[in-house]
Symmetry: C2
Subunit: 354 residues, 2 copies
Amino acid sequence: MKDPFRTIQWKDNYIRLLDQTLLPAQEVYLEIRTLEDLCDAIRRLAVRGAPAIGIAAAMGVALGVQDFPGDDRKAFGKRFDAVCAAIAATRPTAVNLFWALKRMKRVLAGSASLGVEEVKSRLIEEAILMEREDRLLCHRIGEAGRDLIEEGDTVLTHCNAGGLATAGFGTALGVIRAAFEQGKKIKVYADETRPLNQGARLTSWELMKLGVPVTIIPDNTAGALMQRGEIQRVIVGADRIASNGDTANKIGTHTVAVLARHHGVPFYVAAPLSTVDMELCDGSEIPIEERDPSEVTHIAGVPIAPEGAAARNIAFDVTPYHLINGIITECGVATAPYREAFRKCFLMKEKEKI
Amino acid sequence: MKDPFRTIQWKDNYIRLLDQTLLPAQEVYLEIRTLEDLCDAIRRLAVRGAPAIGIAAAMGVALGVQDFPGDDRKAFGKRFDAVCAAIAATRPTAVNLFWALKRMKRVLAGSASLGVEEVKSRLIEEAILMEREDRLLCHRIGEAGRDLIEEGDTVLTHCNAGGLATAGFGTALGVIRAAFEQGKKIKVYADETRPLNQGARLTSWELMKLGVPVTIIPDNTAGALMQRGEIQRVIVGADRIASNGDTANKIGTHTVAVLARHHGVPFYVAAPLSTVDMELCDGSEIPIEERDPSEVTHIAGVPIAPEGAAARNIAFDVTPYHLINGIITECGVATAPYREAFRKCFLMKEKEKI
């Protein structure tokens, strides 16, 4: 089945972006023409989801250097660094953003003999390639994970790790979609995912477009459904995975993992290898973003708490590796010990040269 | 400290009720003059919380029979039964409602020799007595539980088990308030409690009025805070407790209990003995209300999900007794085995004749 939308695309001289803050009420595509607008789009979650943020970062680098005048490579390098620094400052948790910046830096470093205009073109090409690759990776993640879902399963997912969080097809939702496209009769519970309701707004929207039966539940309801035996699998995405398998993902993921273990329900993470940060020994080293409390005290601009009430808005949490039954990447399903499994995946990937 | 509001009161010929659906934006007191309006107020949660629902039910019985004409005791009995049946049909889970109806039936049965007008007066007196008793019980629950909270503790609570859920002072919040009034420096995290945000709207409002430091969190955040060691105690209320200690309370309570056990945080329930249903062997016999899915897909009238999206709105869940460290009633802190502990409490209570 064709993807029912395009999350992010490079156009001749701008980035075309589906504004996810307006979904599901409105399907509006933004035309991002400046670095400032791109950074703003990442910060306010117009584009969100670790892989999509990575692509946005790469395209942001390409966009941010286009109006550099002249052919001074050294000055161009400084401009490049300033662009990367601006993008790096938008959101701290998803490692794909930093991975994408590194990859763009490698392009710059690998084109020392070229003129500025040619480097600009190479950066655009790399960003476009990363978008294409990401869709391919999602399909491979889907294939790698689909057999973990059985006929008749009801699958719980948290937040949105779908086509909207990637260039297309999705990671956790990609696995669900691949199982559905095999003809398996499955159902999905989507945690609404407070405070910004990515589950209620985005996951339901995507799955409804694909024809996959989906039911929205408040985040506090999954435990009761597991207790009743109404959930057979959990699959979520990831924003950063430490080398030991500890996984940062949307706040509430840790809770779902604890509940799944308590009730004997298998819990899987699906993410591209670019989400794995081999430089981190464990999850305690992952920086966790805290966002404005007003996102908790207001919903769609409407206050739901007393004026002046204090609130906390921790955007992510860390699920320890021992609560994870498997991490599905484009190289297959990794299981503990994860450090060893990831090393093999990266080696495999290097040989394949994708 | 004086209670900063009155949840429910009998006035000469009507019930005065703080409309909790309008809090915290507006503090509006309803004048309930008909049985229909009383049932509607219970159904739409203008009055909510198991003990408060019990008092509303008792006052509803008193109100519902007042306009009975004549002095035919048999016909009066039929009218009385019809009134009770209407109230019993409003909400299925909180046992206090049925307990209150039973108590009113005892008044009727115990006044066989009296005329209709006198019985009407007795029913009003009983309902007023139950309101007074409930406030007294809450103070005793507070005293019984306050030593479970230590200086410097941060306490998590779910939903609202405060003065608003009772005639005043509260059960879970009564324990917190009693500890605070001992001079202990404590802080409270209030789960916002989707879908109707009783934590964000009501618990924060009450605690702010009392000067207790309170911070609202999404329901999916408590686990991450426990993981970081930022929560030392959990105290929640109850809607019905089976004789083995299995406890029905607001959806999400079970999740909090699983998280607390996983992270080694003590988990307490606070409720009057009228919430204990000795007729039930365990929690599987507790009827669980499911409410309209639109409460999940809309917040304050604003849609947060795609049009036509499916949602589930399970109002309560059951926390198994083995996840509960103690149940605080007006007779002290009961611990497992609960059936035996409750029997002793009821005996103690009978002797005291309160």
